[in-house]
């Protein structure tokens, strides 16, 4: 069989989303790849120029649908800078708690998808089952399972419900038990190591050259984590370790994500303790009441209030479950941002696909791409 191009996508079980990986193969060996993106390009940056700040949160949830809260957090941090608003402390802790819960949910979703890529059938169901418990917690205080619209410029929409902490602690205990089980199913299996060791290797130098961030970078031994290096929310006041691995391969990414799950539970527990002890407001006082309104009055011209903000720019960076996400919000007065630029970590990690796919086999593509943890929503935006 001579060389041929095959299209993996847009409808392909490997893609976990809507993109196309064109692969040039010779037999089973991958000679060249060319990712084609844009199948889910929804123009979020453009629509944001047409929306009120609190309306953009709706879009942020949908930007990355497995890590909605993290993207809300990213945008809110930039928007608060641009609008010169300071949130109260409790809101920071709730945001951090939410982001860590989101990290757990996102990594569990990744686990479910990844094990299916290497052919393990039942852990997919286990991952989804345990993720549902976290989503139940989200539902108890935001009302949504995937798309929350929870954060606001100047704080968060509402406080945690009573009894939340006990339930959350129960879930944490349950999850820690399950993580042991996951490890036994995956890294305890010889076939898993035969499949995933020395696969999709990107060394630290290459990661930095290619701009790769997140668990992929940490699996190469670089302990870069914006939560530690450039603390936002209340991350400088909790105790946690940055998970790293040395192997820079698929197994390394697995190990890093599994350790991050444990660290997230650790952060969650500390945040729950702090939240128990420190009740208080969750919205800033100096925010006009209408700014926290969930939606703007109907009509394009007929606003009840003329919304004018002071000019400003906001730049934020957070450690999203997939890596380092950046937002840049320009506010030129008026009620809509002038420009919202979002940088997705997966966008960059995926742009390096040629680097970590060429030379491996067709059967290696799903585990490697699975270990990258693709969320097409935030790549295409």
């Amino acid at each position: 069989m001579s060389e041929m191009w095959i299209n993996m996508g847009p409808q392909h079980p490997m893609t976990h989303g809507l993109w196309n990986l064109r692969v040039k193969i010779d037999g089973e060996i991958v000679l060249d790849v060319d990712p084609e993106m844009g199948y889910l390009h929804r123009g979020i940056e453009k629509i944001s120029e047409d929306r009120h700040y609190n309306e953009i949160i709706t879009l942020m949830d949908r930007t990355c649908y497995v890590a909605g809260i993290a993207w809300e957090h990213l945008f809110i941090l930039a928007a608060e800078q641009a609008l010169h608003v300071e949130p109260p402390e409790r809101a920071l802790w709730i945001r951090m708690l939410s982001e860590e819960f989101q990290r757990v949910a996102s990594h569990l979703m990744w686990y479910a998808a990844f094990v299916q890529d290497i052919g393990l059938m039942s852990p997919f169901l286990y991952g989804m089952r345990d993720r549902d418990l976290v989503l139940d917690l989200f539902q108890s205080y935001t009302g949504g399972r995937l798309t929350y619209e929870y954060m606001r410029v100047g704080g968060v929409r509402n406080d945690l419900p009573p009894g939340f902490a006990e339930q959350a602690r129960k879930v944490c205990d349950w999850l820690l038990d399950r993580f042991v089980e996951y490890d036994r199913l995956c890294s305890g299996s010889d076939i898993f190591h035969r499949r995933c060791d020395d696969l999709g290797v990107v060394k630290a130098q290459d990661c930095i050259r290619l701009g790769i961030t997140g668990p992929m970078l940490r699996s190469a031994g670089v302990p870069r984590d914006l939560r530690k290096d450039r603390p936002y929310a209340a991350y400088d006041r909790v105790d946690f370790d940055v998970a790293t691995a040395e192997t820079a391969d698929v197994t390394g990414r697995y190990v890093v994500r599994m350790e991050e799950l444990r660290q997230s539970v650790r952060i969650i527990r500390q945040a729950l303790d702090w939240l128990d002890k420190n009740p208080g407001p969750v919205m800033a006082d100096n925010v006009p009441r209408w700014m926290g309104a969930p939606y703007a009055p109907v009509g394009r011209e007929g606003y009840l209030l003329k919304r004018e903000y002071p000019k400003g720019v906001g730049f934020s960076a957070i450690e999203e479950p997939h890596g380092e996400a950046l937002a840049y919000v320009v506010n030129e007065g008026g009620e809509h941002p002038y420009r919202v630029k979002l940088k997705s970590p997966v966008f960059v990690n995926l742009s390096a696909a040629r680097h970590y796919l060429v030379g491996y086999r067709v059967a290696d593509i799903p585990p490697i791409m699975g270990s990258v943890d693709i969320c097409v929503g935030e790549v295409d935006r």
């Binding site: 095959i6 890529d117 290497i118 059938m121 059967a363």
Partner: protein
């Protein structure tokens, strides 16, 4: 106890019917009706029909069994709402696929595209006629039934590759090539493992092989051969961890990507028929077939059709192990699979032949207390 035989039952039914017919029919027809050739022909047809129907029902039950078991392994319930506990689910699937529009992709080769699933189905179902599931319940005692079974069993890669090639789809093609490579690679260790069984039993006849296991089942002395055989069967059935040809993550649906409707149903059904046949073979060769060990109380083994019952119980247990494996192991890669096949399985199978030879020698020693039976 005269064992009940399927052919005997069919023969009795047909001859009784025809004799009654002969009694009422006018002269030229009555002689025709009482013709022994006709009776034999009709009995064979009836026998085949019963065998086919029962085997297909069994296959469908196997699919149901797998779906429910997998559901339990995955912490869910599987099919529930169609029929009692979802028993009718697979009938619904089959009927639906039967009604679906049968089509051919534009670039596909018509002859190969349509004939491959049919041939695959036929060769898989023919196996049920060869394998005895109890004394008297096969098509006749062929002296080389084991060889025949293995030969028919190994037709599959040809038809899979034919179907894959003629669907004019790159995924199908890669899947078909993987399938052919893997099945051919694992034919060899399977045959070598079977040689060990043949050495120990001294026969190519499956009924004799089962009869030879009346004192001890072969899985004990031939444990190595059993391991090789089970691994080979996993590869032949294309089940996880060896389901590379249909590797869903990379090859969409593998070699049956382009097949839909009834042709897809053929492939599915034949796949499970092969899984059933593989489990049958394991039970026949290593787990004593329909016989039960002596310590089982007589009332449990003495009633009519007890052989079939125990045979099916063993088959489902063996298949349960396959499901368990499927639910808990990841998929291997093609090169790893082939390397394991050629470089691990074949030496192991050769070793198992040596062990079998040693056991045959040891059988002559009085310690084992078993009847030396080499050569009959």
């Amino acid at each position: 106890m005269a064992p009940l035989s399927l052919y005997g039952v069919a023969n009795t039914l047909v001859s009784t019917l025809l004799l009654h017919l002969a009694a009422v029919l006018p002269a030229p027809l009555s002689t025709l009706a009482s013709n022994s050739g006709l009776i034999t022909a009709l009995s064979v047809l009836l026998f085949g029909a019963i065998l086919l129907g029962a085997s297909l029902l069994n296959t469908i039950l196997l699919i149901w069994f797998e779906r429910k078991m997998l559901g339990r392994f995955m912490d869910r319930r599987g099919a529930m709402h169609v029929g009692y506990a979802g028993l009718l689910q697979n009938f619904a699937d089959g009927l639906k696929l039967f009604r679906k529009h049968t089509f051919k992709p534009r670039d596909a080769d018509g002859l190969g595209f349509f004939s491959a699933p049919t041939a695959y189905m036929v060769t898989s179902i023919v196996m049920f006629g060869i394998l005895p599931i109890s004394t008297g319940w096969n098509s006749g005692s062929l002296p080389l039934s084991l060889l025949l079974a293995l030969v028919v069993f190994s037709f599959a890669p040809l038809f899979i590759f034919l179907g894959a090639w003629s669907s004019a789809n790159k995924y199908s093609l890669i899947g078909g090539m993987r399938s052919a490579a893997q099945m051919i690679a694992y034919e060899v260790p399977i045959l070598l493992a079977v040689v060990a069984v043949i050495l120990l039993s001294g026969s190519f006849d499956l009924s004799t092989i089962v009869a030879e296991q009346r004192n001890y089942w072969f899985w004990g002395p031939l444990f190595l051969a059993l391991l090789v055989f089970v691994a080979g069967m996993l590869a032949e059935m294309e089940r996880i961890p060896f389901d590379l040809p249909e590797a869903e993550a990379e090859l969409v649906e593998g070699w049956n990507t382009e097949y839909g409707g009834m042709l897809f149903a053929f492939f599915m059904l034949a796949d499970y028929a092969r899984a059933l046949v593989g489990s049958y073979l394991i039970v026949l060769l290593f787990l004593g077939g329909w016989t039960m060990p002596g310590w089982v109380p007589a009332p449990l083994t003495n009633f009519p059709l007890a052989g079939i019952l125990w045979f099916q119980v063993k088959t489902y247990l063996v298949f349960g192990v396959f499901i368990w494996v499927r639910a808990s192991l990841p998929r291997v890669r093609t090169d790893q699979l082939l390397r394991v096949g050629w470089m691990r399985m074949i030496p192991l199978a050769l070793l198992s032949i040596v062990l079998a030879a040693l056991v045959v020698l040891a059988k002559c020693l009085p310690v084992f207390g078993c009847v030396p039976s080499v050569g009959g």
